[in-house]
């Protein structure tokens, strides 16, 4: 599903040049659950951003679902992103001005789904993450675990092929964290490819494969059995 080859990303300021990704090559197959680990600054978030089409590489190839997307412009990236990728963030990133329902509805609005259909799909997914009873609440009225459940619901509502999760349990206690990881595992079992950046060895154990990174390169890959 994803094949990146010799991917490079370099951040330059007036005085310093930082190599975030150094000729990185990775392949992720459809239906895989991959965890990316590594110390701070190793390039894992940069990789996730490029995989999520939020950032573009300086060099190298990025093939997504058989299409070379490395040179896509912002408009094409946005279009591909909204149809295929769901995001789960450490800090949830819900919009404070929107209710739970409206936050989850948002990706469907951007993909042009009709209102009646949207309502049905949002209710389904809210029910699935067991947050239905809070559908008309605002994010600040929810606990961290509830907020992340909403974020997961939002990530999956469009039935994306790929979910990118950036430290999804980073702001949660262990019990809420486990709930979220269970949810991601369920999604993966239903066929969604998941790539997750994490510092937690515990969380990484939910994945099929761990890619360990250092200085913008993969240093080791562990296959989980």
């Amino acid at each position: 599903m994803i094949k990146i080859t010799d991917l490079e990303k370099i951040y330059r300021t007036e005085e310093v040049e930082t190599v975030a990704l150094n000729r990185l090559s990775i392949e992720v197959k459809e239906g895989e659950f991959v965890a990316i680990m590594g110390p701070s600054g190793c390039g894992k978030s940069t990789l996730l951003n490029i995989l999520g089409l939020l950032d573009d590489p300086d060099a190298g190839s990025f093939v997504f679902a058989g299409i070379e997307v490395a040179k896509f412009n912002e408009r094409k990236r946005a279009d591909l992103r909204k149809r295929n990728i769901g995001f789960v963030f450490q800090s949830f990133n819900l919009i404070d001005e929107l209710t739970v329902f409206e936050n989850v509805e948002l990706p469907l609005i951007y993909t042009g789904v009709k209102a009646a259909d949207r309502k049905k799909r949002v209710d389904e997914v809210l029910d699935k993450v067991q947050i239905m009873h809070r559908r008309n609440h605002y994010p600040q009225q929810l606990s961290g675990g509830q907020q992340q459940r909403v974020a997961v619901a939002r990530a999956v509502v469009n039935k994306p092929k790929l979910i990118l999760a950036d430290e999804p349990t980073g702001n949660l206690d262990s019990s809420n964290g486990n709930e979220v990881m269970e949810m991601l595992t369920d999604l993966n079992e239903q066929g969604t490819t998941i790539i997750m950046v994490t510092h937690s060895e515990h969380d990484a154990r939910y994945s099929h494969r761990i890619i360990r990174m250092l200085d913008g390169q993969t240093v080791i890959e562990n296959i989980m059995i």
Partner: protein, 785 residues
């Protein structure tokens, strides 16, 4: 999607109350100013617009050529209209109209002076006035009178008075044959009554062959497609053909002044229609635009200042698939919604301000509800304000990179702050220009008001004379003098605040035969200089025993080139006259112009106005009742009407006073809106720098030092605005002052004052906000961080 935009927009507005309040208030003030000015401009531009023949009616003007000097006026000869009707089929209708005059209307005991026009029968074929009773045919009856509704009520107490007789000027009766609705205020042609010319009267019979003296206005209704310039040359040729001999009129040209220009393009210079009130209309149109832009700039500034707060939302939306266009649409929806709310507030403000505004302008402001253009403009204002105000923030915010904002690494560098600084500076440039302009207008007005006009208008009363008063003038004067209320009295042929007569026919020995001086004149009698407190430079005042004597002003003597003028003879109007005195220049016409040459000719019979100089310190009310009693005694058939000359003179400043007042209002509001924006911006800056302020205070900074730190940035911007605004204001106001011959020189003082005012206002605005931050307990602010 749109619903979602507006929903989020509404929630954003209600969550950030201070921000929304500042924006709504600023935009509402901006819009209210724009709407009021727009209404004023609309009314000015639609002046006379209710006349059905608005597009085809012209007033005829003559450019008289006095040896190269062109003087433009609407006064024409009586027989011209019938000559035009006989020879110019392209002129559908033509009408002769007298200049407005006062007519005494009597019914039983009621005696009222009303403004009337004497008109030829085609009057209603050119002008549209609504009949309540009667019809346009009545103007064919020389014994008829047409009254307005108010006049009929004033004279008869009712409008149901067709067929009733009214006594005119105590010398003839006329029959009320038609009643009109009152003349709308937005009509150039104003009257209380219309009287048809009487073709069988000796005056009109004489006027029918008079092609030199010009005392009437002429209006034409021209067929569509008629070439105006060819008609103009045909008409001057007609005048030349009919006039026996050459005179300034035949040497000149005629000008067809279209009805659509009567109100706003009323000035003529060098034979050309050069503008007039339009310059104020244009000026205030710009003021409206500037104020609205200032308010829009507030919105731009505050929105971009809040961008750090909105950045996360932008990031999330982009991650979820929102494109740049959708984000731009979202932010524009917010600003359009804000503009809509502001518009509703502004509408309420406009309605509340309307009575005072119409009073100030002294016009009836019509809100054109039925005009689709008005609704288009309203929608235009909302959308334009929304798009102008929201455009920059929309593009700015939607450009954020989701990766950066979600990481929280978006920081507002110099690039982001620079446009905001430019916007604040531009706002203040506009406000400083407006304040400077206001002060300069005020200075010019004061300068002209304090001008030595050559005579004393205080304690001087003008009473309209009449046939009886003229006959009993000496007895009237003696009676008043015995009462002790007046120091002197003089009769003049015209009011002292204007010159109605001009002549080029004065001849004297040694005059250059090639120069033809135009000199204003009036008739007067004994005690002319004494009553006016005019300064006699040479010779003497008029006195008993005078007959063919004249007094000139200094300017006339200078232009005539006379040395030792007193005792010299001149010839004028078929008589030889002796110059007995020279007075200092007197400003009787425009106080903005240099004094013009003037001649006062002695005439003991002319009936016009009695000018009464009250004794210093007398009780004015008591004096007036004594004057009224004397007036009634010697002319019981006429109503006593008087005017204070200083009030009359002050009428000359009405236009500039109005401009001054409007400038004060709009400059004040613009600086207020600027300060609202500054206030908002400072509060956001302070919010961002709360931690910094806390740390600085912990490290030992005093409140004063924090205040300076917070204020410096903004005061530099205001200072910069000042440096740019001053040359702009100086240039613009110098151009305006060129309209007046008698004017101030713009000094540095006014700009120092503007600088101080702006600085104080900015300082207070910034200080109010910054002091709260500076006084806050650093322990608390740092803990909350």
């Amino acid at each position: 999607m749109i619903k979602n935009y507006f929903k989020v927009a509404w929630r954003n507005l209600t969550r950030n109350k201070t921000f929304s309040l500042i924006n709504v208030l600023g935009l509402a003030i901006g819009m209210a100013c724009t709407m009021l000015i727009a209404l004023w401009v609309y009314n000015e531009k639609n002046w006379d617009g209710y006349h059905k023949k608005y597009d085809s009616v012209y007033q005829l003007y003559v450019n008289r050529n006095f040896n190269g000097e062109i003087s433009t006026g609407p006064d024409l000869m009586y027989p011209l209209v019938s000559a035009i009707q006989a020879t110019h089929p392209e002129v559908q209708h033509a009408v002769t109209v007298s200049f407005p005059g006062s007519t005494l209307m009597g019914n039983g005991e009621t005696r009222i002076n009303k403004t009337t026009l004497t008109v030829s029968p085609d009057f209603f074929d050119i002008f549209t006035f609504d009949f309540i009773r009667g019809n346009k045919e009545v103007l064919k009856d020389p014994d008829a009178i047409v009254m307005t509704e108010s006049t009929a009520k004033a004279v008869f107490g009712s409008t149901d008075v067709l067929g009733q007789q009214v006594r005119l000027n105590n010398n003839r009766n006329a029959v009320v044959k038609a009643i009109l609705k009152d003349v709308p205020r937005n009509s150039t042609v104003q009257f209380d009554g219309l009287i048809p010319f009487n073709p069988s009267s000796p005056e009109i019979k004489e006027a029918e062959s008079e092609w030199v003296n010009c005392s009437y206005q002429v209006f034409l209704d021209v067929k569509p497609g008629t070439g105006v310039s060819s008609l103009e040359s045909n008409l001057i040729n007609l005048i030349r053909k009919r006039t026996n001999g050459e005179n300034p009129t035949t040497r000149g040209s005629v000008l067809l002044h279209p009805m659509e220009k009567w109100r706003l393009f009323e000035e003529f210079r060098g034979g050309k229609n050069t503008g007039g009130r339009i310059q104020y209309v244009n000026l205030f149109t710009w003021v409206a635009v500037v104020i609205l832009i200032i308010a829009c700039v507030n919105f731009m500034n505050l929105s971009t200042a809040r961008s750090e707060k909105r950045a996360r939302e932008v990031g999330i939306r982009k991650t979820l698939g929102s494109g740049k266009k959708q984000l731009i649409a979202q932010f524009l929806s917010e600003s359009v919604l804000l503009a809509l709310i502001s518009f509703l507030v502004a509408t309420a403000v406009v309605y509340a301000a309307m009575p005072s505004f119409t009073k100030l302008l002294n016009i009836e402001v019509i809100i054109p509800y039925s005009e689709p253009a008005m609704w288009a403009i309203v929608l235009g204002i909302i959308l334009l304000t929304g798009f102008v105000a929201g455009g920059y923030p929309a593009f700015y915010l939607s450009d954020f990179m989701p990766v950066k904002v979600l990481k929280g690494t978006i920081l507002q560098g110099k690039q982001a702050v620079l446009p905001r600084k430019i916007l604040v500076t531009s706002q203040f440039i506009a406000a400083i220009v407006l304040i400077s302009a206001t002060l300069i207008i005020y200075q010019q007005l004061q300068h002209v008001k304090k001008r030595d006009i050559g005579y004393d208008t205080n304690n001087l009363i003008q009473v309209k004379a009449n046939k009886d008063l003229t006959k009993n003038y000496d007895a009237f004067r003696n009676e008043l003098q015995q009462s002790g209320v007046l120091s002197s009295v003089v009769r003049t042929s015209s009011p002292l605040t204007t010159i109605l007569g001009f002549t080029s026919g004065i001849r004297w020995q040694g005059a250059d035969p090639n120069t033809q001086l135009i000199i204003g004149f009036l008739f007067s009698n004994n005690d002319f200089t004494k009553t006016l407190n005019a300064k006699l430079i040479d010779g003497r005042d008029f006195c008993d025993g005078d007959s063919n004597t004249v007094i000139f002003n200094k300017e006339a003597i200078r232009l005539m080139g006379l040395e030792s003028p007193v005792g010299r003879e001149i010839t004028w109007a078929g008589r030889q006259r002796t110059i007995v005195g020279v007075v200092d220049n007197m400003v009787m016409t425009s106080p903005y112009e240099a004094a013009s040459p003037m001649m006062v000719a002695y005439d003991n019979k002319w009936s016009g106005f009695a000018n009464i100089r009250l004794n210093e310190g007398v009780d004015v009310r008591k004096s007036l009742s004594l004057i009224e009693a004397a007036y009634k005694k010697f002319s019981p058939e006429y109503p006593f009407e008087f005017r204070f000359i200083d009030d009359e003179f002050n009428q000359k400043f009405l236009n500039e006073q109005l401009i001054g007042k409007l400038a004060v209002i709009f400059a004040g509001l613009s600086i207020f809106v600027c300060c609202l924006g500054l206030f908002g911006l400072v509060s956001f800056t302070i919010e961002r720098r709360t931690k910094e302020i806390g740390i600085r205070k912990v490290l030992g900074a005093s409140v004063q030092q924090v205040l300076v730190l917070m204020s410096r940035e903004f005061l530099i911007l205001v200072g910069l605005a000042f440096l740019v605004a001053i040359p702009a204001a100086w240039w613009a106001m110098n151009e305006w002052l060129k309209n007046f011959n008698y004017r101030i020189n713009i000094g540095a003082g006014v700009f120092l004052l503007v600088g101080s005012i702006t600085l104080i206002i900015a300082l207070v605005t910034v200080g109010l906000n910054a002091s709260a931050a500076a006084l806050r307990n650093p322990g608390k602010t740092l803990r909350s961080e």
